[in-house]
């Protein structure tokens, strides 16, 4: 046999073997009768809302007819249906302006994820074992109802807890209305990156308990204290669009951008000037800038109004904050401070931002108040090119009150855990929707141990994660693309925005929309609960709520109520015709003017020589998106690391400790330790080490489980002194060299990263 023949034959046999290995039995399946009539091959674009972060971007979903393998009435078959193929920004939407970030684009994978919970589940093994058995919706509802009615009859409704991710719009109305009518404990809204401290500071300075909308498109000068506003902070898509305008979108000089932080972020990498500073000293830096402005008569103390008057020593021109006096503390030369102050004053409108790390110190509240005062003296509050506060739509289906006001920080979960540890009987039923505090809180809070003491936990989760795995009953929610959605974002646009989206597709699996499940429960409970939630379905509630907008001047003009409803659905929501910002009332008046307190850190500097700075991942965000393979597979924009985690350190630090690129190191705080590969990069202060949040899941689908390490777990339970929020940048750590290795993945694939996945 000649070599050529041999090659031909072995190629043929090889190909045959390969083909046999991956047969697809789809045309053996029965076909279900399609429920919708679509033209094959033609795409339609349907409006939707991104729910993956609190920004609330409006999206368009490209839907085409396709065939999906689905289970209907217990039988597997093929259903011809409209299937979303691509997500893009909605050009008409005032927040996304037709753009969408990579995390939003990956939202498609939430719907098609192979590890989605496809049907209601009841726990069949020990708690936390992940053993569940499939049950019907009737059984699931009966189980949950029996637990609720049992507490009703024993008059212990107060022992029903409700834990959700941050809620807005009618979803909030229904959840809070349900809890209030049931006389349950008020729902707790948990997110790790909640920015509670900044909202609280804005309430004090400006009387608006919200994150600001930044009008970057008109700014000439921008100082950002740690805010990753182009990546993850606040409303990144709206801010990126505005930043694009500030730099390229208008004639004349592009605005200048200065970023102050102790580890270079993706946003910081875009800055004209990047100023490294000492952790926790951002407030002092801001007041030092204000000192220069006041002392050089570039602005007046009185112009800052209430926001300035809050700060101790403001009216005297901040004598304690002269650049020469504070340069050592901040770690920035006095000349630089003076120059930045003069530049900012000369280039009006100038604006300052604070976000992420600087607000997550024990003095984060002071830092935020100081930046607010700086904004006020720069005259950029409520003005074009500055920060404004968006008027938020708060119609609540004619049921005002339920959804007003209360906003939770991370601290609310700590309180809940403490309460359960103190009196284990205090929570008998816990309902969980979307929040994963077992992953996203420090081990020191002992949230997992607390939840294990709760007799009955029901989850509305779509995935098994560290919190849902503890549930006794899982009633899976639709994916966002399968649900009715509404949203009223608090920032990102100067218009009042009320987003609305009908389902972009039929549900793939045996799931139910969470608000509909609550409404159904309310009807079955009867009495005052049913009376408080009179709507039959979630979309009924939405229709009634949105009808109140018809008379207002906005993006939709319609002849009658039905016409209005149709147009709002087609457009993806309603937004006001005019740009408007809420008129600022004077905020809270404190007993005494606020003074700086030095930031406190957990761990002594001798024993734990490094500041530990977790930061939100560009891709996995706060960890809630680590289950999306596109997000795992995308290289981090700065480090190019994928499918894993890393610890960033300065080359000088690495040299001192004899650590090389990719070596495994151990990071230990007083509260725990973790191991991860070292990434040596110059954009970080020598006494700071930084780590992305997002990986380190123990139980979160096949793509995220057992991958990397979770920096949140080793954080000290330090709290911000003014607001009680978790001070997640206030932990000190030590590091030790464990082994040489090449665990950091620079442009590697899934199979390289985790050999075990090859065998699935």
């Amino acid at each position: 046999m000649e070599r050529r023949d041999f090659l031909k034959i072995s190629a043929a046999t090889g190909a045959v073997a390969a083909l046999e290995g991956c047969g697809n039995p789809d045309h053996q399946l029965i076909r279900f009768v399609p429920e919708e009539d679509m033209l094959p091959g033609l795409a339609t674009w349907k409006p939707s809302i991104c729910t993956l972060c609190p920004a609330g971007c409006g999206m368009l979903v490209r839907v085409m007819q396709g065939e999906a393998e689905v289970v209907r009435n217990g039988q597997l078959g093929i259903l011809k249906m409209g299937l979303p193929k691509k997500l893009e920004g909605n050009p008409a939407h005032p927040i996304s302006h037709g753009r969408l970030c990579p995390r939003g684009q990956a939202g498609l994978q939430v719907t098609y994820h192979p590890d989605r919970i496809k049907t209601p589940l009841a726990r069949s093994g020990p708690r936390g074992s992940g053993q569940f058995q499939e049950i019907t919706w009737d059984e699931a509802m009966k189980q949950l109802l029996s637990h609720l009615t049992a507490l009703q009859t024993s008059n212990e409704q107060g022992k029903i807890g409700f834990l959700t991710s941050p809620l807005r719009g009618q979803r909030k109305t229904i959840v809070h209305g349900f809890a209030a009518a049931l006389k349950a404990a008020p729902p707790i809204e948990f997110a790790f990156l909640a920015s509670r401290t900044i909202q609280e500071a804005n309430a004090w300075s400006f009387g608006s308990d919200a994150l600001p909308t930044v009008d970057l498109s008109h700014s000439n000068y921008l100082i950002s204290f740690g805010a990753d506003f182009l990546g993850t902070w606040n409303s990144p898509v709206a801010q990126s669009v505005g930043y694009g305008h500030m730099r390229n979108g208008r004639t004349g000089q592009p605005g200048k951008f200065v970023q102050v932080e102790s580890r270079i972020s993706q946003t910081g990498a875009s800055a004209d000037e990047w100023i490294p500073s000492q952790p926790g000293m951002d407030g002092v830096f801001a007041l030092s800038l204000a000192h220069v402005i006041l002392s050089e008569k570039l602005g007046t103390a009185g112009a800052a109004g209430h926001a300035g008057a809050l700060i101790a020593g403001w009216s005297e021109g901040l004598p304690d904050y002269a650049p020469a006096a504070v340069e050592k503390q901040i770690g920035v030369p006095a000349a630089t401070i003076s120059r930045i102050a003069r530049e900012a004053a000369a280039n009006a409108p100038a604006v300052a931002l604070i976000g992420d790390g600087p607000a997550a110190h024990t003095n984060g509240f002071f830092n935020a108040l100081a930046v607010n005062a700086l904004n006020a003296v720069l005259g950029s509050v409520g003005k074009p090119g500055g920060i404004v506060f968006s008027p938020v739509w708060t119609s609540q289906s004619g049921k005002p009150g339920a959804a007003e006001g209360k906003k939770d920080g991370e601290s609310s979960v700590r309180t809940l855990a403490e309460q359960i540890h103190a009196t284990p009987d205090s929570v008998k039923v816990l309902l969980v929707d979307g929040a994963n505090p077992v992953f996203a809180t420090p081990m020191a809070w002992r949230v997992r141990e607390a939840f294990e003491k709760v007799p009955f936990i029901a989850s509305f989760g779509s995935f098994i994660d560290e919190t849902t795995v503890l549930a006794d009953l899982i009633l899976p929610d639709h994916s966002p693309l399968e649900s009715w959605l509404d949203d009223s974002p608090e920032s990102g646009s100067t218009k009042t925005v009320a987003s609305l989206a009908p389902p972009a597709m039929q549900p793939l699996h045996n799931t139910r929309s969470m608000p509909d499940v609550l409404l159904d429960l309310a009807h079955q409970l009867g009495g005052p609960v049913a009376a408080a939630l009179p709507w039959k379905t979630y979309d009924d509630a939405l229709k009634i709520a949105f009808s109140s907008l018809q008379k207002q001047k906005g993006s939709v003009s319609a002849t009658d109520a039905d016409d209005f409803w149709t147009k709002v659905k087609d457009q993806g929501g309603w937004w006001s015709a005019e740009d408007k910002s809420v008129s600022l009332a004077a905020g809270k008046i404190p007993a005494a003017a606020v003074k700086n307190t030095a930031p406190q850190f957990d761990g002594s500097p001798d024993q734990f020589p490094f500041h530990f700075l977790p930061f939100a991942s560009q891709l996995c965000y706060d960890g809630s998106l680590a289950h999306l393979p596109w997000m795992q597979e995308s290289p981090d924009p700065l480090s190019t690391v994928m499918w894993g985690t890393w610890v960033e350190m300065n080359p000088r630090t690495a040299e001192k400790l004899a650590i090389k690129q990719g070596d495994t190191i151990e990071v230990a705080s007083q509260h725990g330790s973790l191991r991860a590969p070292a990434l040596i990069a110059p954009g970080i202060a020598p006494d700071v080490i930084a780590m992305p949040i997002g990986q380190g899941h123990t139980n979160f689908t096949r793509y995220a489980s057992g991958r990397g390490a979770n920096p949140i777990s080793i954080l000290a339970p330090m709290v911000e002194s003014g607001t009680g929020s978790l001070a997640w940048a206030a932990t000190r750590v030590k590091i030790s060299h464990i082994s040489e290795g090449k665990i950091v993945m620079f442009g590697a694939s899934l199979t390289d990263a985790s050999p075990e996945l090859k065998h699935r």
Partner: protein, 208 residues
């Protein structure tokens, strides 16, 4: 041994080897129809969630390689002739052919809008009603269509708009009962018509 003898021997060896492979393959192929009738549910749920261009069986792959296609066997002996004779138009059922790339194949619900009352005693209509009663759609088999390896894209709408008659590519359906391939859609067939009508014969007009 002479050189020609050597060549013959080699040829024989290769033939025997290939023959064995094809024998094994056809045996493998024969095992799959049993699955068609009673598919075990476990194997179905384990079907790969990842897209694969692979074939169901090896023989499918071999058939595609040689360009031979099985005759579609339709679940219901639908007759085009009778429907067209009763005054229906192609586009009554194949909606969207003038608007999009593909024509719609109607679902069982669409058929039943008429057959709720018309010819309900005929055996084929009873089959139709039985599908609907079970909540199943009719698993029509594909008659026309290009092999993926041809990398050709076809869009109905511009052809219909240009006044190309359905029959030009699909034959005279008024004489057909169950649809069969009457016209072979080879590249020569497409190009000839494109030349006659003086439209683009550029490669990327169809292969993109």
């Amino acid at each position: 041994m002479s050189r020609s003898n050597l060549g013959l021997k080699r040829c024989l060896r290769v033939t025997v080897f290939l023959g064995m492979i094809i024998l094994v393959l056809s045996l493998l192929d024969r095992t799959s129809p049993a699955q068609d009738t009673a598919p075990p549910p476990q194997t179905m749920t384990q079907s790969s969630p990842i897209f694969t261009p692979a074939h169901r069986t090896v023989m499918d792959a071999v058939r595609e390689f040689f360009g031979s296609r099985q005759k579609p066997v339709q679940p219901i002996a639908y007759t085009h002739k009778v429907h067209l004779a009763n005054g229906m138009q192609c586009t009554d059922c194949h909606v969207g052919v003038d608007r999009g790339p593909d024509a719609r194949i109607p679902s069982v619900n669409f058929c039943m809008t008429c057959h709720q009352v018309i010819a309900t005693d005929k055996p084929e209509i009873k089959k139709l009603a039985a599908y609907r009663a079970r909540g199943e759609d009719i698993p029509w088999q594909r008659v026309y269509g290009f092999l993926p390896s041809a990398h050709v894209k076809f869009n109905h709408a511009p052809h219909i708009r240009a006044g190309v008659d359905c029959a030009q590519c699909h034959g005279d359906m008024t004489k057909q009962t169950v649809a069969v391939r009457m016209v072979d859609h080879t590249m020569g067939f497409c190009v000839q018509c494109h030349r006659e009508k003086n439209v683009s014969v550029d490669c990327v007009a169809c292969h993109y």
